[in-house]
Symmetry: C2
DNA sequence: ATATAAATCTATAATCAATACAATATAGCA
DNA sequence: TGCTATATTGTATTGATTATAGATTTATAT
């Protein structure tokens, strides 16, 4: 899928973020690459197209997006944080063999107990680990 | 609750881990302190009692425990990994204001879709973020 | 017991994602 | 045009974790 810069800029403006060129490019990357990339991967890929891009800008931009709920941080394990364009109601499965992160549908609201009634829940994450079908059949 | 070293040693032997003195002390700490400590915190606390203790030993021991399913890694966010003595069917809620991590009961199995039928699931984690009642009432 | 091998542990150096910071560039506006 | 705030760059620093090599302890056999 190809996204128009104007549409991406509007998403940023909606969240009260000034649509600078670099911010548009980072968000475009997140929307086009639903591969749960790390900040490093985003930087390495965009650097080819934008030679002046700085790593600090990528980190700053991603932090802005997370605060604005445009993106989510995935911290299944490892030291590396991964980023995900926001979609509701899905969990992440990380294959311990090939490292791929898969999305799957889940609605955690169905199994929350009243224990959390007095808590303000802002973010819900479900992380599974194991072996994906492809790796499992290769054993 | 106080645990006998002999009982802790048996838990280790059950998981095919040799019950060295330091390993017993680390497991004892995890069982007695259900506060989701970091490796640093465990090290700092045990160091008082065991002056020769090395940080590397704490990391090695925790890694052993995680592999043996005696402990779980909690990676809600931050760079710091936290450790939790294994208990089934509970999620973690991190307060964005005070940083405390709370346990709550949840049974994710109830809301898993058939999407994951072909995946071997070895570990399930549920992480919530938000504001705890105490911090909320202080605003 | 003593020797030998295996495991555990220590201490320190290295790694590397993430952050902090100071300097520069750009955009918005009177 | 100049002024101010924001955005970006480039580099230095941080800090949790890992790697490593050597020392110590434990287990086993002779």
């Amino acid at each position: 899928m190809v996204y128009k810069h104007k549409d991406i800029a509007e998403k940023l403006i909606d969240r009260h973020i000034k649509p600078s060129f670099h911010r548009i490019k980072v968000l475009e990357y997140l929307m086009a690459n639903r591969t749960h990339p790390t900040a490093e991967q985003i930087f390495a890929c965009l650097k080819k197209e934008l030679p002046t891009l700085s790593k600090a800008t990528v980190y700053n931009t991603l932090k802005l997006f997370v605060e604005a709920k445009l993106a989510r941080e995935i911290t299944i394990e490892d030291k590396e944080i991964r980023y995900d364009y926001t979609i509701e109601n899905h969990g992440h499965f990380k294959c311990e063999s090939c490292g791929t992160i898969f999305d799957f549908k889940i609605n955690v609201d169905d199994c929350i107990t009243e224990e959390l009634d007095d808590f303000v829940i802002k973010d819900k994450n479900v992380y599974f680990k194991g072996i994906c079908p492809r790796c499992f059949s290769n054993t």
